[in-house]
């Protein structure tokens, strides 16, 4: 058991000061804007909860929230199982381990707008590798700047390309922590591959998978830079995810009140879903 020692607060103080400075001041600014109306000239009027009501009723918000939910759902459904499968089929020891880890981690360390630009170059219809293959070799008409479906597929494939490795690395870490004795015991019992996965590997990966899904949920729900650089939210509004729409309102139209109210609703949704998922996943641990 850990000792009760209020001295702990001294150790935490620097972290608290820095994070609070960065989190609370901007958060209060946002809260401040969200309840006020302005007509320019730095004059502000109390607007109560009006902006919140407007946002919650606005079709535009519903539409971008829907797109965002669909995007997050799709990348979770693809990335998590794919990550588990790749982690299961990776070598456990030998010279190929570092090669796999380094090449797979590479996309995680590329600046986000470079990823957008890279996929842009990759998918250009006539001079990009993918664009050329699709249009001139496979004969599929592919142009993601005009076709909403193509744009959606490209944005999702890009996210899978960018982030599946995170799931792989986490699952792999869970898998290598399983002692060999477990597998030997399973072999003696004549367990099938599926039972080994279901009763040995999956329970061991549960904790890392929880972390993986949480991180992927938070980051994909807040995604901005890569889809913005790749499609700019287009064609039309097809790939305008929540963050992209928010930045359009806040910095494009400079509607600070609605943008602030939208930020708070957005943050509340992220927080609530993360909390719900975390509570559900760890519910059985405490019993």
């Amino acid at each position: 058991m850990r000792k009760v020692n209020q001295k702990g607060w001294f150790f935490v103080l620097p972290v608290l000061a820095l994070v609070a400075f960065n989190a609370l001041v901007p958060m209060m600014t946002v809260v401040n804007y969200s309840v006020q109306e302005t007509f320019g000239n730095n004059q502000f009027f109390w607007h109560g909860l009006g902006w919140f009501q407007d946002i919650l009723r606005s079709e535009r918000f519903h539409a971008s929230l829907g797109r965002q939910a669909l995007f997050t759902f799709m990348i979770l459904v693809i990335e998590v199982p794919l990550g588990v499968i790749i982690a299961l089929s990776m070598p456990r020891k030998g010279i190929w381990v570092p090669v796999c880890l380094v090449t797979m981690a590479l996309p995680l360390l590329i600046p986000w707008n470079v990823i957008g630009a890279m996929w842009n170059i990759f998918t250009l219809p006539d001079i990009g590798l993918l664009g050329y293959l699709m249009n001139h070799v496979l004969g599929v008409n592919y142009n993601m700047t005009q076709d909403p479906v193509a744009a959606w597929i490209t944005v999702i494939v890009m996210d899978v390309w960018h982030w599946t490795s995170l799931v792989v690395l986490l699952c792999y870490a869970g898998l290598v922590s399983i002692p060999d004795a477990y597998y030997q015991a399973a072999k003696i019992d004549g367990a099938s591959n599926w039972s080994v996965f279901r009763y040995i590997q999956l329970p061991k990966m549960k904790q890392v998978l929880t972390i993986a899904v949480l991180l992927r949920f938070m980051d994909s729900f807040n995604v901005y830079t890569e889809p913005f650089v790749l499609t700019g939210g287009g064609p039309g509004n097809a790939t305008t995810l929540l963050s992209i729409d928010l930045v359009k309102i806040a910095l494009g139209q400079f509607d600070l009140g609605p943008a602030a109210a939208m930020s708070l609703i957005y943050f509340a949704i992220t927080l609530f879903v993360s909390w719900l998922f975390y509570t559900l996943m760890t519910r059985n641990d405490t019993q």
């Binding site: 009760v4 972290v15 981690a105 360390l109 170059i121 490795s165 904790q207």
Partner: protein
């Protein structure tokens, strides 16, 4: 056994294709890029790289990025160390709530904070400095560093602390001479993740800088939009942003996976 290897191989090929295309593009001449499709550069040219290494607005982008990323990594890990120690060793009023609150800061969309951050750092006169970006990135890097370090520290038996105190070590001496060396892998992993998230983040870095501390990624965006889409130059700049990350991964390759796995959610 052999059959299983096909999955990682296919995945790695999929990962490498866009990167290959970027690198190939960076060695082509502008005429070749716009003239049509070619799998390999027909004429190899270093012109794009030459532009980057001779134009101060380009190479200063790299220097700026490296400066604020290093600052952020040092600050995050330094303040996270004592905090992680407190979370792993002591119970104190509100410790659980505090830990959860720290983690919630990773959930706030950067887009939400962009404008308030700009106002805050302008108000305290740090706009367009490296330290402003370094401090702003602390918002999501400190919670992550605390989380990872706490996981590693919890794995160190308490007897180590107790024995050291019985032997007459003062707390600071114990922490630096005994405790730090035992968790140096954890420090490496935490530093790696801080480096990674600070290096790839652009929205806040771009919002908080104008000229003097402008990150490389922002320089690229400007070029792409203003100078009529110089693809070769863009590709060369992109290729160069991959290199620091690749070097860092190589050093911590044996610890990357462990870092998250040991952390507590």
């Amino acid at each position: 056994m052999k059959k299983r290897a096909i999955i990682p191989i296919l995945y790695i090929v999929f990962l490498m294709l866009p990167i290959y295309w970027l690198v190939a593009m960076s060695f082509k001449t502008t005429q070749e890029i716009l003239g049509g499709f070619s799998l390999f550069p027909r004429v190899w040219t270093l012109a794009s790289y030459k532009t980057i290494f001779t134009d101060p607005t380009w190479y200063w982008g790299y220097i700026n990025s490296i400066i604020y990323v290093t600052m952020n990594t040092v600050i995050s890990v330094t303040v996270a160390l004592p905090a992680a120690y407190a979370f792993s060793r002591y119970r104190f009023l509100g410790d659980k709530q505090l830990f959860f609150w720290l983690l919630t800061n990773r959930m706030a969309p950067a887009a939400v904070f962009a404008l308030p951050f700009f106002q805050l750092y302008s108000a305290i006169g740090l706009f367009d400095t490296h330290i402003a970006v370094a401090l702003a990135h602390c918002l999501f890097n400190i919670p992550l560093a605390v989380w990872i370090l706490e996981g590693f520290m919890r794995g160190v038996p308490k007897e180590l602390d107790e024995t050291a105190f019985v032997d007459g070590y003062s707390f600071p001496r114990f922490f630096v001479q005994v405790f730090l060396p035992t968790i140096k892998a954890g420090v490496g992993v935490a530093a790696f993740f801080c480096f990674m998230f600070s290096w790839v983040e652009l929205l806040l870095a771009k919002t908080l800088t104008a000229v003097y501390a402008k990150p490389i990624a922002a320089t690229m965006t400007r070029t792409a939009s203003s100078a009529g889409y110089e693809l070769g130059l863009l590709a060369a700049a992109g290729t160069l942003t991959i290199i620091p990350g690749a070097i860092v991964i190589w050093f911590v390759r044996n610890y990357i996976a462990k870092g998250f796995a040991l952390g507590r959610v």
